[in-house]
């Protein structure tokens, strides 16, 4: 038993060291990449991009399910985006509230028969509406498909542009977000097939007329911790993975894709729990199998602001769903692991996701259990354990502060001193008990998935209109 505990503790120690080294490397890569990106931006005047006759038309697809509270603000925000060739498709995914009525009233919709080719699978479309106020707006009214993927597929079938940008209808894009996210495509349209933008936390900020007026840190601790998580995930994780062309996730709230490729892989998988990661995984698979020379990029400055859960129950549901989504993607794609034809995706990105994302809550739980057991049996070196705990705490804080530093050095959206002080303080406070709770939610997600529970429970949100009113 003692021997087993010893081996187990050693294994977990090295697992933890490996995961921290991976994070440290990512932080360093991200800091360097951001600095380069900032310099590169100096030679891009966005005004020039707007005047460029070669900018590709983009169709924005915004699925909406029971979004009566925020749909007007969100659609107005999309139509006000600074981009010369834009089409906006809002998909009303069988809303039971007044979402469609709100759209009808605000944008004077009339029933039309726009081009709709049902290439990607989705639930029955009841009608297509075009706005008399702004001809660029098309609303697809369909029966509820039970997933966001289903709704996006309906939008994809109606899209007429070579690129589609999928956004959440409860999110706000910064006015120049599309111009910024298009830059990698303008640089290399043949190789760049998809681009991800950054998602930031909207809670606490002020909105007026469909635009962000003042960016503030949220008031609740649980929301502030999510701000740090988002900064860490996007400004460190995705920035670094994209450098090696190994980006596996483009957030469902804001991503740009080549339309023909999304159609070629059959659109979004309706039954998928994590449609965003699923699509990117299938794009990698498709392009690698074809032997294409391609890139999936991440750009850290086109910003999309989204409302995050503000209570533990909703947050728990969301995190459980994310974990289910991850498992739902990694398991069917397990044949890509360590296969030369999938290159670095099969050798680095997917094994990392398996080991340090999917299995992390399981390994952490086993670790805690064996440490407690070893302690009870007197097989634990207490001094070493204490030092290890301090190291773990200090290192995790270092990574979090590193992400705040990234934000400070590059994008600097929180101008208020108080906000920065709070943000840094929470870098020290997030490790207990939030991390442990997070681990439990993720375990729950895995358990639900293994039991066959694939239901999607809606999260409690206050809506953009009420955020703006605060």
């Amino acid at each position: 038993m003692i021997r087993f505990l010893d081996i187990s503790n050693h294994t977990l120690f090295w697992y933890y060291v490996a995961s921290n080294i991976a994070y440290l490397i990512m932080l360093l890569v991200a800091l360097k990449t951001s600095a380069l990106h900032q310099r590169r931006l100096e030679s891009h005047c966005l005004g020039w991009v707007k005047q460029n006759r070669m900018v590709p038309p983009i169709t924005i697809i915004a699925p909406a399910h029971n979004e009566e509270a925020s749909i007007r603000v969100a659609v107005r925000n999309l139509l006000e985006l600074d981009y010369p060739e834009l089409e906006v498709i809002v998909v009303n995914d069988g809303s039971e509230d007044r979402t469609l009525d709100e759209l009808r009233e605000a944008f004077q919709l009339r029933l039309v028969r726009a081009v709709y080719v049902p290439q990607a699978k989705c639930a029955l479309v009841r009608g297509l509406y075009r706005s008399d106020v702004d001809g660029r707006l098309l609303v697809v009214d369909k029966e509820a498909g039970g997933s966001k993927a289903d709704a996006v597929n309906a939008g994809l079938n109606a899209a007429t542009s070579p690129y589609v940008c999928v956004v959440d209808s409860d999110s706000l894009l910064e006015r120049d977000a599309l111009l910024r996210i298009t830059l990698p495509i303008l640089e290399d349209p043949k190789r760049v097939v998809a681009v991800g933008g950054i998602i930031r936390v909207l809670n606490g900020s002020e909105i007026a007329g469909g635009q962000l007026r003042r960016i503030r840190l949220p008031r609740k601790s649980i929301e502030v911790i999510q701000v740090i998580e988002y900064l860490r995930a996007f400004l460190i994780g995705r920035e670094a993975w994209a450098q090696g062309n190994m980006l596996m996730i483009i957030s469902g709230a804001f991503g740009l894709f080549r339309t023909d490729l999304v159609r070629a892989v059959g659109g979004y998988r309706s039954s998928s729990m994590g449609e965003d990661i699923d699509l990117v995984a299938r794009l990698h698979r498709h392009l690698r199998e074809k032997g294409s020379d391609y890139e999936i990029r991440f750009v850290p400055d086109p910003m999309c602001w989204t409302e995050v859960p503000s209570d533990l129950k909703s947050l728990g549901r969301q995190r459980a769903r994310w974990q289910k989504g991850l498992l739902d993607v990694l398991w069917p794609n397990r044949d890509m692991l360590f296969r030369p034809r999938y290159g670095r995706i099969g050798w680095i990105a997917l094994p990392y996701l398996w080991l340090f994302e999917l299995l992390a809550p399981v390994l952490e739980t086993v670790g805690i259990a064996t440490i407690i057991l070893a302690s009870c049996l007197g097989a634990l070196n207490r001094q070493f354990f204490l030092e290890f705990l301090i190291f773990g705490y200090a290192f995790a804080t270092l990574i979090s502060i590193g992400s705040v530093l990234q934000e400070e050095v590059t994008y600097k959206r929180y101008n208020d001193w108080k906000d920065v002080v709070r943000l840094v303080s929470y870098c020290f406070l997030e490790h207990f008990p939030y991390r442990q709770l997070h681990m439990i939610w993720r375990l729950q997600g895995m358990w639900q998935y293994l039991r066959g529970d694939r239901t999607w429970k809606p999260l409690k949100r206050t809506g953009l209109a009420s955020i703006g009113a605060r």
Partner: protein, 405 residues
């Protein structure tokens, strides 16, 4: 001598962790100090900068007219940077007269000269910054320095030079770019090159022709696209040579360019290109046929309406809607095709243009159409699907998840 791995192993986890703890704590302290000091510094810097910008803004006219001696600010890097940034920003929204005034100021104050010097002598990011500033001035004297930078080893510098040259929108810059690409080949992504050339060749597109003829491979394709964007009616005859070209992009460019010409020859060639094997060549031809506004194009557009590619169908439908020809007659032709995709595309274009009701009233009011035919056409328009002459097909349409209003 023992290896690094052996040394590391001998340290054991405990020693490693103790060291790591210290490293992590020091790292945290350094990061925090950096964030706070940087914030404090930037706060002071921007307060000072804003105050200075305000001061110069108050004296803007005296500054630009040269009443304030240039020596007063030129030797102070802080002021020089502020003034240069203000002038370059003003350029972006200036009228031609205002632009000329600003350019005179930049010349007289020696700012352009300084940037030309930097663009030639500096390297890396500092060179890039000088090139961007030079491009923003649109000064012809900056073109040679920008052209020299096209030969830089750093891709970012080359791209900055390319954008700068594009910004000047001058044929001289186009010549520099074209001679560089024909010498070195395509050493930058195609799109920035095309954008720059489109801006620079707009005035004299014929300078492109010899280069397109000589170029090979991807460069020829890229230049062909530029040609398609900037072609004018005067180039129509020159473009005929590309109608049968092996390169799809060049045939598409020729098709695009011929929309600008009114000759009968253009119509025949576009008609031919509208049957091309490559969809985007057909697309360009259909769009160009639509732009010709020639009633003879109807048959080609109706054929385009039945194309296998949905974009071609949609553009053909839009072109048919734009035509001045009798819409009722066109609708009859569309219905005659008995092609539901063609009909759907036409209906889409009709409704996007908000013309369905107008067409319906036109049918009702038209005395020349037989009542049965009227009923049939109105029924088709109202139902949004072709008459159920073929039950199997009608059923297939109704099963599709497309609306049936």
């Amino acid at each position: 001598m023992e290896s690094i791995f052996e040394k590391f192993w001998r340290l054991g986890p405990a020693a490693f962790v103790v060291k790591a703890v210290f490293a992590a704590i020091i790292g945290n302290a350094l990061l925090l100090a950096f964030i706070l000091l940087r914030r404090a510094y930037r706060r002071r810097y921007f307060a000072r900068r804003d105050a200075r910008v305000f001061e110069w803004r108050q004296k803007w006219d005296s500054l630009i007219s040269g009443k304030i001696p240039y020596e007063k600010w030129r030797k102070k890097p802080f002021d020089r940077r502020i003034i240069e940034a203000m002038v370059l920003d003003a350029f972006e929204a200036a009228t031609p007269a205002e632009s000329a005034r600003l350019l005179n100021f930049l010349r007289a104050s020696g700012l352009i000269e300084k940037r030309v010097f930097e663009a030639r002598r500096l390297v890396g990011w500092r060179r890039m910054r000088a090139l961007v500033a030079l491009g923003r001035t649109r000064a012809p004297e900056g073109i040679p320095a920008l052209a020299e930078a096209l030969r830089d080893r750093n891709l970012e510098v080359r791209l900055a030079a390319l954008r700068g040259l594009g910004r000047t929108a001058s044929p001289q810059a186009a010549e520099e770019i074209l001679s560089w690409v024909s010498e070195t080949g395509l050493s930058v992504p195609a799109l920035p090159l095309q954008s720059a050339l489109i801006q620079c060749c707009a005035e004299r597109p014929q300078i492109l022709l010899p280069y397109v003829q000589q170029a090979k491979g991807p460069l020829r394709e890229a230049l062909g696209r530029v040609l398609g964007e900037v072609a004018t009616p005067s180039l129509a005859l020159d473009l005929l040579q590309f109608v049968g070209d092996d390169l799809d992009e060049l045939r598409a460019a020729a098709a695009r360019a011929m929309s600008h010409t009114r000759s009968g020859l253009a119509f025949d060639l576009l008609n031919e290109l509208a049957r091309d094997k490559v969809w985007f060549v057909r697309l360009r031809a259909i769009v160009s046929l639509g732009k010709l506004s020639d009633p003879r194009a109807v048959s080609a557009l109706l054929r385009g309406l039945r194309d296998s590619n949905r974009l071609v169908r949609l553009r053909a439908a839009e072109a048919l809607i734009e035509l001045k020809t009798d819409r009722l007659w066109i609708l009859q032709q569309v219905v005659e095709t008995q092609d539901r995709y063609a009909f759907h595309a036409y209906l889409t274009a009709l409704e996007n243009a908000n013309l369905r009701e107008e067409l319906e009233s036109g049918i009702r009011a038209n005395a020349a159409v037989l009542p049965d035919e009227k009923r049939r056409l109105l029924n088709v328009l109202h139902k949004g699907s072709l008459t159920p002459e073929k039950p199997a097909e009608a059923e297939a349409i109704s099963r599709e998840p497309v609306l049936q209003p």
